[in-house]
């Protein structure tokens, strides 16, 4: 039986947004500068594939290589600055209940599913589909999809360079919190992959909570 732990914000302050993301669905929002987004892994080991864009100029966007190069670390951890393709901070990891987070493994797609699992997997729903449909709401398309973050997904790199998605390090109710260092458009795909352990073969919901310290809520809190 699937255990769901909806948990709560990992950061203090007033809640200005609180959304539930259904299994296999997409989500997006602009997180204003200084606000903190908590992502709750409600069912445990549910990959939250995530792209970031400068809300004012989406051509400046999350860059996995810039993030890794500046941090000098193959994994994303507490304190990691999530950088743009210009090397600028977009968000910073201010709370993290999983040892390490991934930004190497990329997103699943119908197209790459055919390579990984066979051509029958082309029919499966995939993160690239979620990114494209959710991104279209903001005027974004295929050119805007780049290597992403995978919250709660585990991709070790072994000594000989072997790399792959293996069983996760997360659990129901575990969280990551990221602070916006400018106004950032966050696009998330609640990964629907059914062919590897990135969501423990059991897609579960995510909870997205935006908080702010010392300022009036900017938007009404949504019903849970």
């Amino acid at each position: 039986m699937t255990i769901l732990d909806w948990s709560g914000s990992l950061a203090p302050g007033a809640v200005v947004r609180d959304d539930r993301v259904a299994p296999r669905a997409a989500w997006s929002a602009v997180v204003p500068a200084g606000h903190v987004l908590t992502i709750v892994d409600v069912g445990g080991n549910q990959s939250a594939d995530c792209l970031l864009f400068d809300a004012a100029d989406p051509a400046e966007r999350y860059s996995a290589p810039d993030t890794l190069g500046w941090s000098g670390d193959a994994y994303v951890r507490t304190g990691t600055v999530l950088r743009s393709n210009h090397g600028n901070p977009l968000m910073t990891v201010v709370g993290n209940e999983v040892d390490r987070q991934d930004t190497i493994g990329g997103a699943c797609s119908k197209e790459s599913n055919t390579l990984r699992y066979g051509h029958h997997a082309a029919a499966d729903h995939a993160c690239r589909e979620n990114f494209l449909s959710e991104g279209a709401k903001w005027g974004l398309g295929a050119r805007d999809l780049v290597s992403n973050l995978n919250w709660f997904m585990n991709v070790p790199v072994e000594a000989d360079g072997s790399l792959g998605i293996v069983d996760g390090l997360s659990a129901p109710g575990k969280r990551v919190a990221v602070r916006a260092d400018r106004d950032v458009l966050v696009v998330v795909s609640n990964c629907p992959q059914m062919n590897n352990p990135c969501n423990a073969f059991d897609p579960t919901p995510l909870r997205m909570i935006v908080t702010v310290v010392g300022a009036a809520p900017e938007t009404a809190q949504e019903d849970l």
Partner: protein, 281 residues
Amino acid sequence: MTTRQTDTVAAARSDARAQAVSVAATATKSMPYVPAATSPNIPPDVSPDALTWAETVPPAAYTHRVVARGTRIRLEDPTGDACAHLFLLRTDAPYERLNVADTLKIPWQAYLGPGHPLLSGDGRVLATLAADTSRHHDAFCGTTSDAWNIAKYGDARPEGPTPSGQSLLTLAAAKHGLTLRDLGPTLSFFQGVRVAEDGALRWQGSAGPGTSVDLVAELPLTVLVANVPHPLDPRPGYTVGPLRIHAWRSTPTGPGDESFTASPERTRAYLNTLDDWESRS
């Protein structure tokens, strides 16, 4: 103060034409060779008649080229200090482009080596790393941003002494009508990075002078290359050597090739590539 005579059109034209045969101006040999068969560095295993591109990219410079499917591109690092930051787009459909995550994930391997397929985000092979005598490469750190080079060297401008890779790749992309949105994470060749047990990214440097890699274009490709220091290069100076490029007409990877059958994932990637290409051809 110049001593050159350029005060009339005839004098200026004569002065301009003298540049092409100037020993001083061409002494570096870092330039495109046109026609390619005039390259002074043609690899011994390549027929000069088959060459379609010959160029030596100077340090801190970039190049770009459209190549046909089946072209074999050799990058050479004669000094051990080149660092080729590479981005590939499909020329006939540039929204299909290099996807570094899939390039690592599909072969289950983060360290590029002989036979490694460079994949697009559309389940196809853009190019095959058909030969590799260096094996010191990096798929994690991408190229340098302006912010990085300003922090490290004090300048990142393309016309300055220490241009960033991104400033140069932006220019290379613009030559094909492409913008920043068309650029994604890059691969760098000849300066390696390895992941330590604790996750630390360790700069490995080069395999020494005289190594090369061969890339076989599996689709028509727009090739963008910046030759700048790797972001993790620990040397305080802006150290980078010339990059030699020769490309020639060859054959794309087919069912009889070792790369084609190296793993079930790769076989399906080549089959997808052939399927799409034959449909369009």
